[in-house]
């Protein structure tokens, strides 16, 4: 319990930095909307095509935006040597992981809350129902778990901007496939019963990789 409280302090610190600088969320949201607009140029000319590709576009956008915000979360720590401060603080490595994980999750949610309405406007699809919220929340947990782990790793390499996407995209394939297909089923008018298998895959991914990342994280920041 105490560990979670410490993690929340780290997440709150990230949020406070973000509220003061407005660096990450604002620029990532602009980037995400740009991606959607560019996809619209590519596919949006006829409404039928737009319906067909809409879920795919949404999840590609989230994956791209996720990489950007995840990268920033550790670049800031590294640039100001905050990570050293965190490591000498009397908290376990696991708490640091949970803190960064919560922070990244909040950032991803924040970005989605802004991007999804814009997306539904531009593509004329209704995106406000409980099933889609469920898919989005579950998939974001998966993104944030491996994302936090890999971002911590990428920041100590020589080409951090390159290493994170190259690692992140293949590993989150199951989440992307499941989220895109589940969203498509819901947009076609399906209900919760139609997407249980997909939700199961995302759920399994979340459980496996939250636990694995939690256990492995201490090996990444140790010097």
């Amino acid at each position: 319990m105490r560990e979670i409280a410490k993690a929340c302090v780290i997440a709150a610190k990230d949020m406070l930095t973000e509220i003061r600088t407005r660096e990450v969320v604002s620029s990532v949201v602009v980037f995400a909307v740009l991606v959607i607009v560019i996809f619209n140029f590519a596919f949006g000319s006829n409404p039928q095509a737009a319906d067909l590709v809409a879920p795919g576009i949404l999840w590609v956008t989230f994956a791209f935006a996720g990489v950007l915000s995840l990268n920033r979360s550790f670049v800031l720590e590294k640039e100001e040597d905050c990570i050293e401060g965190l490591m000498v603080a009397p908290i376990s490595r696991e708490s640091i992981f949970l803190g960064k994980f919560f922070g990244n999750l909040l950032f991803i949610f924040l970005i989605q809350v802004i991007v999804i309405p814009v997306f539904s406007l531009l593509f004329n699809v209704g995106f406000f129902n409980i099933e889609l919220v469920l898919i989005t929340v579950l998939a974001s947990v998966g993104f944030a778990s491996v994302g936090t782990l890999f971002a911590a790793m990428a920041v100590s390499t020589r080409a951090r901007e390159l290493v994170l996407p190259v690692l992140f995209f293949p590993v989150i394939t199951p989440v992307i496939i499941a989220a895109v297909n589940a969203s498509a089923l819901i947009l076609e008018g399906g209900g919760l019963g139609d997407i249980t298998q997909w939700l199961g895959i995302i759920g399994a991914f979340d459980v496996i990789f939250v636990v694995a990342s939690y256990l492995i994280f201490c090996f990444i920041i140790e010097e």
Binding site: S156, V163, P170, V171, I201, A204, F209, I216
Partner: protein, 223 residues
């Protein structure tokens, strides 16, 4: 000495497998000559997965024991696995062109292998961008573990995604005796060959590390 034995056994078996695949085994009735690729395709796939399992195992060993040997095994096995999975994808594509008339189909096993290929390419990209030897091993181990944990989920999601489409022709009937014998010889040959390559690769990594240390030492002495 053991390496020499492995070398002779695997070369003997590989020669035998050439003979069996090219001369001994009868040409398959429906598929024709291209079916012979199957005898190499299957062992290549098996060895790739075995190699990635060894990467996972040795990576875990490295994180627990911190002996460079474990990292040498993991890295050597990842190299072999990447070569074999590339060959497996290539032979699979040739097969697909002959059987289905296209170079690539998004079939579950092919797609899973492609995702794996990306994960282990990322393994080497991460290693290439880390300078310190010890950190290189640690980061490699993390990717080796996460990448392997992901295999069942990737396969599950890809299978679920593709079963929404009509199933492809799958081999339901068993193999004829001579074909089975050929396949078994190929499997044995490749297994021995893998362990031979692994032994050589591991020793080579150890040599590389020793040379690097000598170099660094001599630079330190005469700057």
């Amino acid at each position: 000495m053991k390496r020499r034995v492995l070398f002779f056994v695997s070369s003997g078996l590989l020669l035998a497998s050439f003979y069996m695949v090219l001369v001994f085994v009868p040409t398959e009735r429906d598929m024709g000559i291209v079916q012979r690729i199957f005898y190499y395709h299957v062992p290549l796939a098996w060895i790739a997965f075995l190699a990635f399992f060894v990467v996972f195992f040795a990576s875990t060993g490295y994180l627990i024991k911190r002996k460079p040997l474990w990292d040498h095994i993991a890295c050597a096995s990842a190299e072999i696995g990447l070569v074999f999975i590339s060959l497996m994808l290539l032979t699979g594509m040739i097969w697909a062109k002959a059987a289905w008339g296209v170079w690539w189909i998004w079939e579950p096993r092919l797609t899973t292998s492609l995702v794996l290929w990306f994960i282990y390419v990322a393994y080497f990209i991460v290693r290439a961008y880390v300078v310190e030897e010890e950190r290189k091993a640690r980061f490699g181990a993390v990717v080796g573990i996460i990448g392997f944990l992901n295999v069942p989920l990737v396969f599950l999601s890809v299978t679920l995604w593709r079963t929404q489409h009509p199933p492809l022709t799958i081999f339901t009937e068993g193999l004829a005796g001579s074909m089975m014998a050929t396949l078994l010889v190929c499997l044995f040959a490749f297994n021995f060959f893998y362990f031979y390559l692994l032994a050589e690769g591991t020793l080579m990594k150890a040599d590389e590390r020793a040379v690097k240390q000598l170099k660094e030492e001599s630079i330190r002495r005469n700057p």
